[in-house]
Assembly symmetry: C2
Homo-oligomer: 203 residues x 2
């Protein structure tokens, strides 16, 4: 594909550097932008510059935030003695959407993935150890993806904070609510039989 | 989905204004950009501004170009008496990739689509009529998509230029090369029987 404009080609190259965007899609997006007014393109481009300039890391949890302390960490009605460990902001959005959690978060920024060259040093771990050692935290919840990488990270974190007087829990694994048993995968079904729970009438 | 940063939300809004990009994908892309260096984000953002500032329309064919006249129109070895009418630059890239065409192009910029509110006045038609009337063009090829909108546009253009002494042709329609007959759609197969051609040994 030989694009007859260096400037369009630059945009295609930049857009296709994003995950999941190929050259063909990038060209479609570039032409869409080219058909917009100068003001619209300017607004589009400046949104990225402003995001990079103003978004910072919350000093409490490491989450992205417009303020030095994010709205969850600065909320006095949240339970600051319960810390939920997640990979990134998208997990926080997912958990917040459930309205089932009133504690605070700790954002690792990544999970250990040797295949992608991500080791423990690339994770935001030290502040978590400080929290565990502080005596102000009662429970740390591991809420990472149920993958090999997530399990590896859980194991690493457990080794690091196990010696402190803090309860360590993880999300329950099992058959998803609403799913038919016959379609559950073997691993999940097997685990959910081994980890069976006392029957409770759900409120 | 309540994003706890106005700046990230702006980027998500801008990215999800692009065709085929939803809010969830936009957030993934925004976080990917946020993890890049300031320089990389600056290069990313400025590519759009430069594209909008420097890309112009070729005065010959209406295609996007970095120069007042595009590289195809300014190429003396192309056949300027044959004009291929296309919707946009992507069609030119597709036809150029075949290396089967040595004429020049005329870019409409859009095709008539009442559903999308696009009428004949939104198309780059007047310069095509001038070309047809000039006496310098022998053949005009309609190379629009084989859709209702493409057919409507073909019909409209035909009415406009039919009175001039110029041959009007359109791309042949039929069973795609390499496709199995049993999987060809009825409309295409029906048309390819009606428009059957003298058998030729292809060179």
């Amino acid at each position: 594909m030989k694009i007859p404009s260096k400037h369009i080609e630059n945009v295609v190259e930049q857009l296709s550097s994003l995950p999941g965007i190929g050259k063909r899609t990038a060209l479609r997006l570039a032409l869409n932008l080219l058909n917009r007014s100068k003001e619209e393109v300017s607004t589009f481009a400046h949104s990225f510059l402003e995001m990079k300039q103003y978004v910072q890391k919350c000093s409490g949890c490491g989450n992205v935030s417009d303020t030095p302390v994010c709205s969850i960490c600065s909320n006095p009605s949240r339970d600051h003695s319960t810390v939920c460990v997640v990979e990134d902001i998208r997990d926080i959005l997912a958990i917040e959407a459930t309205e089932s959690y009133k504690g605070v978060y700790h954002v690792l920024g990544a999970i250990i993935s040797p295949m992608d060259g991500i080791g423990p040093n690339d994770l935001n771990i030290d502040p978590l150890i400080e929290k565990a050692a502080s005596g102000n935290v009662n429970e740390i919840i591991f809420a990472l993806s149920a993958t090999m990488e997530g399990d590896t990270t859980n194991y690493y974190l457990f080794k690091k904070i196990n010696s402190f007087p803090v309860q360590i829990t993880s999300l329950s694994r099992g058959v998803a609510i609403g799913s038919e048993l016959q379609y559950a995968d073997e691993l999940t079904l097997g685990r959910s039989i081994l980890n069976r729970q006392p029957f409770k009438i759900q409120g």
